[in-house]
């Protein structure tokens, strides 16, 4: 075991699965040149046949991934930045999500579509998307959104081995975070299992992707004030570990959903609705959301940065929840 970054975890997961299974291969734009550091030396080790640079045509190569998967391959498709999934929505929604179903189980689509969520650094609205909620509304797609290098490695390996299509959303604000990474080649984290990142008793904070470290910092800060946060990281958004979330809320009686994506119809909204529907009797106060408001992301740093969930905003929400006799807003 050695400490390594989130990006290195991606590299290791891919490397190990490429080594383990000949049917695994990679494709994407400019992956041979290793833009973000997740394919270091892959061409040298696995050859250009298995590490394919594609023309700039996301719908084409993501759809080709589907075709290759249907004939027995296991593509890892690197779509670079999540914003580039929009041009590929045709193949993702109509082919990848639906083929197994519409053909009555005849089709199998073991493939992974990776993309990073490239926000927070003046990339402007067209490059800063965090669109997992859109895909959560489309049945047939498993979705992982890990927040630590450890989870990333285990979940990505599980995704590559899964017989169902998996979208992997990589939060670039986590790229440099480090964990000890198991080197057991069969280390995997099963899809659909959430994780309690910190135990606590007063408030359940369900945090998604890059919101996890923020929630943990807020928890550390609030501890000093005597407020105890339990931080739940779903890790997988589809299937969502709904039971784990309910268990935690039934214990704490309070909930905050923290999500770096836009508020409306977000993962945070889904989790909140799930709690309000199924753990209402345990609730001592409103279910709050701390998200990015429904505006686009501007280029200019001083107006971009304050839009995202922050430690202060989570702390503020928690304090209000603990005091709340009077009406509360996030």
């Amino acid at each position: 075991m050695a400490k390594a970054t989130f990006l290195e975890a991606i590299r290791q997961a891919q490397h190990e699965e490429l080594e383990r299974d000949e049917s695994v291969f990679m494709m994407g734009e400019d992956i041979r040149c290793n833009v973000f550091g997740t394919t270091t030396d892959f061409v040298e080790q696995f050859g250009k046949e298995r590490i394919l640079d594609t023309p700039i045509s996301e719908n084409g190569f993501i759809g080709a991934g589907a075709g290759a998967a249907m004939v027995g391959m296991r593509p890892i498709i690197d779509a670079t930045i999540s914003s580039f999934l929009y041009p590929a929505m045709d193949q993702i929604c109509s082919i990848i999500a639906k083929s197994r179903y519409i053909y009555g189980g005849q089709a199998r689509l073991p493939l992974v579509i990776r993309s990073c969520m490239f926000y927070g650094n003046s990339n402007a609205a067209q490059h800063s998307d965090r669109p997992y909620a859109m895909f959560m509304n489309m049945p047939g797609l498993k979705i992982i959104a890990p927040a630590t290098a450890y989870d990333m490695k285990g979940l990505l390996k599980a995704a590559i081995r899964s017989d169902d299509p998996v979208l992997c959303f990589e939060d670039s604000t986590c790229w440099m975070s480090k964990s000890e990474l198991p080197d057991d080649p069969d280390f995997i984290i099963p899809l659909g299992k959430g994780d309690i990142k910190r135990e606590g008793s007063d408030i359940t904070v369900v945090a998604v992707a890059g919101a996890v470290p923020i929630a943990l910092k807020a928890a550390a800060q609030l501890e000093k004030e005597g407020i105890s946060l339990e931080v739940v990281d779903p890790r997988t958004l589809v299937p969502l570990d709904r039971e784990l979330i309910l268990q935690s809320v039934r214990k704490t009686g309070r909930a905050i959903c923290v999500d770096p994506a836009h508020m409306t119809c977000s993962a945070a909204s889904e989790i909140s609705a799930h709690i309000a529907e199924n753990a209402f009797d345990a609730l001592k106060g409103p279910v709050l959301r701390v998200t990015t408001p429904d505006t686009h992301l501007p280029f200019s740093p001083p107006i971009e940065k304050p839009l995202y969930p922050s430690v202060e905003r989570v702390v503020g929400a928690a304090r209000r929840l603990m005091n709340a006799q009077q009406p509360v807003e996030a």
Binding site: F25, E49, R50, L52, T54, P55, S57, N59, G60, F61, I62, G63, A64, G65, A66, G67, A68, A69, M70, V71, G72, M73, P87, D90, Q91, S94, I95, S99, R100, Y101, I102, Y103, G104, G105, Q106, A107, R108, P139, G140, K142, S162, D163, D164
Partner: protein, 332 residues
């Protein structure tokens, strides 16, 4: 290919075209009676395009098709019972009642989907060809799509990828002169759809889509080219759709002044029967094929009618590998 082989091949082509025609004629009539739900996009008039193309393929070659999905699997040799059961929405349908008329895809004969989103099959076919290339199996992937589909970005990207990577794919553009109500000339700026291939420096062939032998020959050339590693080929079959875009769209979307009669005069089944007879095939042999086919189709209908509908829980199968939890209101 010796004379007898070639003869039996020809009879097989005739049989497959008959199967498609009779399967659809019957389907149309029971659709009119309300036994088939949803829309019905028939392939009548285009049988030579599908059969000629599929006869050029190996059994293990892949095929991808579109919303006009009845002809393609039959052309590649699928059995009729599961297809008809699918049209009726039965559990023993080829797609377990999940797909219906626009999605008659039989994976057991190499079909990888008849996808009703226009253009969406092209990247899939490119990917199957990529899989075959990576696995070095010598398989080819053939994709059927319409004239209208060539305007879609998906079709462009799939063909571009296949060309850039020199994949063993054959793109069969079934030019039936219309996309829904829109004449090809109004929607497509090129005279021959085959000109689309020039954007990819892709070999292309134009063929009379009413002549099943000609189609088989052209697609065989294309398949050989692709299989031998020389890259993908674009084949345009010039053909015609007899019916409305889909049965039950309420009206004939396509005004046609005499066009239909002209094309029907070159009906692919009629001209092929004539040719076979001219070549010395005993008309009784052809009659037998026709009546055997009628029996086969009647059997398929009976099978389909007798079959059960899927159970409510089956709606939750095959979203993923494991069945989804069935909600309370459907278990009680």
């Amino acid at each position: 290919m010796d004379e007898t082989q070639s003869n039996s091949r020809k009879l097989e082509k005739y049989r497959r075209m008959q199967r498609i025609r009779q399967f659809e004629d019957l389907a149309e009539s029971i659709h009119a009676q309300g036994e088939i739900p949803g829309a019905l996009h028939t392939y009548a008039g285009m049988e030579a395009s599908g059969v000629g193309s599929c006869m050029a393929l190996r059994d293990d070659d892949y095929m991808v098709g579109n919303h006009r999905s009845h002809g393609h699997p039959i052309a590649k040799g699928a059995s009729l019972r599961p297809l008809m059961a699918e049209l009726l929405g039965k559990a023993s349908g080829v797609c377990k009642g999940k797909g219906g008329s626009m999605h008659l895809s039989d994976f057991s004969i190499g079909s990888l989907g008849e996808t009703s989103i226009v253009g969406s099959g092209v990247p899939v076919a490119a990917g199957a060809a990529l899989g075959a290339k990576l696995k070095k199996t010598g398989q080819v992937a053939l994709c059927f799509f319409g004239d209208g589909a060539t305007s879609e970005g998906a079709a462009h990207e799939g063909m571009n990828l296949a060309a850039a990577w020199c994949l063993p794919a054959v793109f069969v553009c079934e030019n039936n002169l219309y996309g829904m109500s829109t004449p090809v000339a109004d929607a497509v700026p090129v005279k021959d759809l085959a000109d689309r291939a020039k954007a990819y420096a892709m070999k292309s062939i134009i063929v009379d889509g009413q002549d099943v032998d000609a189609v088989e020959k052209a697609v065989t050339e294309a398949v050989d080219h692709a299989r031998s590693g020389k890259g993908p080929v674009f084949v345009e079959t010039k053909t015609y759709r007899y019916g409305d875009h889909a049965v039950n769209m309420g009206r004939n979307l396509t005004p046609r002044q005499g066009e239909e009669e002209q094309w029907k005069a070159r009906d692919p089944l009629v001209i092929y029967r004539q040719r076979l007879e001219e070549e010395g095939v005993d008309p009784a042999v052809l009659d037998t094929i026709e009546s055997e086919t009628a029996d086969e189709v009647a059997d398929a209908i009976k099978y389909a009618r007798d079959a059960d509908y899927p159970q409510a829980e089956e709606a939750f199968d095959d979203v993923f590998t494991d069945r989804l939890p069935v909600p309370d209101h459907l278990t009680a």
